[in-house]
């Protein structure tokens, strides 16, 4: 009986932990209610004081120059995403004349669709969506269009007719791959390259784009050979395992391209174990993507020779689009968010910024 009781207690404890878990993870989903509610009060209060008009001032006229923007964000899965969110919150701030309704959709497609519906009901002026999933957007985009609200698809792409949204903006992964290739051509200055590629997850847009871009440059250099290309799933463990195998298969490589920073960390571990030197002073050139804070620290230390950024600071570009629309100007169907690349200290490049402590300290994430 006693043991049964213990069993029951354990069960209750686990359930409690899980409920606590659910409680926390659903917090972001519940949170939107607050920012959504707060703006509803604020505009009502503000005009009441300044204009001494009836409290129930009809929204569009009275809210005047405050631009209401809704942002349905993917979630908060990485440092990159956190920097992206903060950038939007800073850019579309009250001080800049915006009222941002920010919703963290916690990687849940259904929540995101409902969030956008909410934005439409609140009659916001602009809606930014960073789509979690590319499919399934037609209906809700049509609803937004019927309501006459311009929609900006940011960061990722949607599988919907381009006429259903106003504009899209994001990084160009192919351009990132090409930047890496161009830098390598400049750095090697005609020398041979035997390249190993650790790809990202199979089928991910970043993987496809970065591979395509880099291969475009490989095709232009007849003395470059891609020895092998395997997926490391964008993880450190994956990068480590793939690199371990590469080292056994090939003895004459001098360039390793990792399609994100985590894979580069793993590749470095594997090379350390096998006694292969890399970086500015070593035998192997490492090229990485993402330019996270840790990744750039390695670039500063001269371990990762070149790190190509995927810029999370996209809000400025979104604001540019919003300003154009406010002024009644036409906008392009696609706005490119420009990426930078960073190279280790001591290297000068036309394609990349030379790393220094100041550059690292000045990074927003």
């Amino acid at each position: 009986m006693k043991k049964k009781l213990v069993g029951v207690l354990m069960c209750v404890a686990m359930t409690a932990t899980m409920l606590a878990g659910c409680g926390n993870s659903s917090a972001p989903a519940a949170a939107p209610a607050e920012p959504a509610a707060a703006p509803a009060e604020q505009p009502a209060a503000a005009p009441a004081e300044t204009q001494a008009a009836p409290a129930q001032a009809e929204a569009p006229e009275a809210s005047g120059d405050v631009v209401k923007v809704g942002f349905a964000q993917v979630g908060h899965e990485s440092d990159w995403r956190a920097a992206n969110t903060k950038n939007y919150q800073d850019t579309f701030s009250a001080a800049n004349g915006y009222e941002l309704s920010f919703v963290d959709c916690d990687n849940d497609h259904a929540v995101q669709i409902e969030t956008v519906r909410g934005f439409i009901e609140q009659e916001l002026d602009y809606i930014c969506i960073a789509p979690i999933q590319s499919a399934g957007w037609d209906t809700v985009l049509q609803e937004a269009q019927d309501a006459g609200i311009p929609v900006l698809i940011v960061d990722r792409a949607v599988d919907a007719d381009a006429s259903l949204y106003t504009t899209a903006l994001g990084c160009d992964m192919v351009a990132e791959g090409e930047t890496a290739g161009n830098w390598l051509a400049e750095y090697l200055d005609g020398e041979d390259a035997n390249i190993l590629v650790i790809e990202g997850s199979v089928g991910a847009s970043a993987t496809l784009g970065r591979t395509e871009g880099f291969n475009n440059i490989v095709a232009q250099n007849s003395n470059w050979t891609v020895l092998d290309s395997q997926s490391g799933d964008f993880t450190q463990a994956g990068g480590q395992e793939v690199m371990e195998s590469f080292i056994k298969s090939y003895s004459d490589f001098n360039v390793v391209v990792c399609q994100n920073d985590n894979e580069a960390y793993g590749a470095m571990d594997a090379m350390d174990a096998a006694g292969i030197t890399y970086g500015v002073d070593g035998d192997v050139i490492i090229i990485s993507f993402d330019a996270t804070h840790d990744g750039l620290q390695y670039t500063l230390d001269g371990k990762i020779t070149c790190n190509v950024e995927c810029n999370p600071l996209q809000a400025g570009f979104a604001e540019g689009v919003v300003k154009k629309l406010e002024a009644g100007e036409a906008v392009d169907a696609w706005t490119l968010v420009e990426d930078e690349a960073f190279v280790a200290p001591g290297i000068d490049s036309d394609y990349a910024v030379t790393m220094s402590q100041e550059v690292l300290d000045g990074r927003a994430y």
């Binding site: 354990m10 926390n24 463990a237 590469f246 056994k248």
Partner: protein, 353 residues
Amino acid sequence: MDKLKKITKMKLFLPVFSMILVMMINVVYDIASGNPPFGFFSISITNGILYGRLIDILNRGSEVAILAIGMTLVVSASAGTDISVGSVMSLSGGMCCMLLAGYGVTNVSNYAVPLWVGMLAGIAIACVCGLFNGFLVAYMNIQPMVATLILWSAGRAIGLLLCNSNIVYVRVPSFQFFGGYCGIIPTPIIIAAICVAVASIVLKSTALGTYIQSVGINKKASRISGFNSAKIILLCYVICGLCAGIAGLVATCRIYSADTNNIGLNMELDAILAVALGGNSLGGGKFNLAGSIIGAYTIQAITTTLYALGVSSAQAPVFKAIVVILIVVIQSQPVKDYFKKLSAKKAVAKEVA
């Protein structure tokens, strides 16, 4: 002839045969591409550590081998699988790193609490997960897959919460040791070897193995004969949780960080496959631990082979599937019966002659 027959009749013959078959692919490939025929098997000491593909297989296969121990017992006792082990691995790693780094900190080079506290907490939470699964299966009579589905989805989420949705790095050499090298041997190999040794000693020297099998064959009959069936099933799930915890820590130490999103991802499937490749029935009952361990390393041998052959990542799953199908078919009853019939016919023919 008789000797050969004896060998082929041994319980472990087919799992070992499958593994050798997988490795032979490399020999054929090496000969075809003009390399030394046994290049795949060469082991050397480079940079002060053991170096070679076989070492890679043993090293990278450690996690699945450890998981396979627990999974074998669970499958045997409850005729079901514990699909939460991958998530529990991630939870255990997350718990350990969260304690070692302190909550909300993402990058440390000093421990916030002693190493053993973090490790113990990681293993303890994994055991609690096992207890939870075992309770649902043994006392609530919930289908194992449904019961463990809860932690399959929740385990990783709790791990993410513990780590504040970040990758927590613990850059301390003594932490990296458990995923790195002990002298010239990769530490994960040693950890896996210890786990396998302890499990087999316990199963051999006590009657636990017999209890588990009898519960798996017939739960009611075992209870009537005086075994506490529920308790034995519960114990199996706790052991499975323990194994998941150890495997999670190994995976975490390898990358000296709690990458809760990715540690142990889909590894429950590899563990179940290892049990099946080892010639165990997923319907419970009799089990063969050595078979499961060989199965685990066979899976890793396939992965390493695919890397060695340079099969592109997009096509690799197809090759893996083909190899797995072949192995499972070789071990299936109809094929076994067919070969038996064939050899019987031959024997008859000989006698007539």
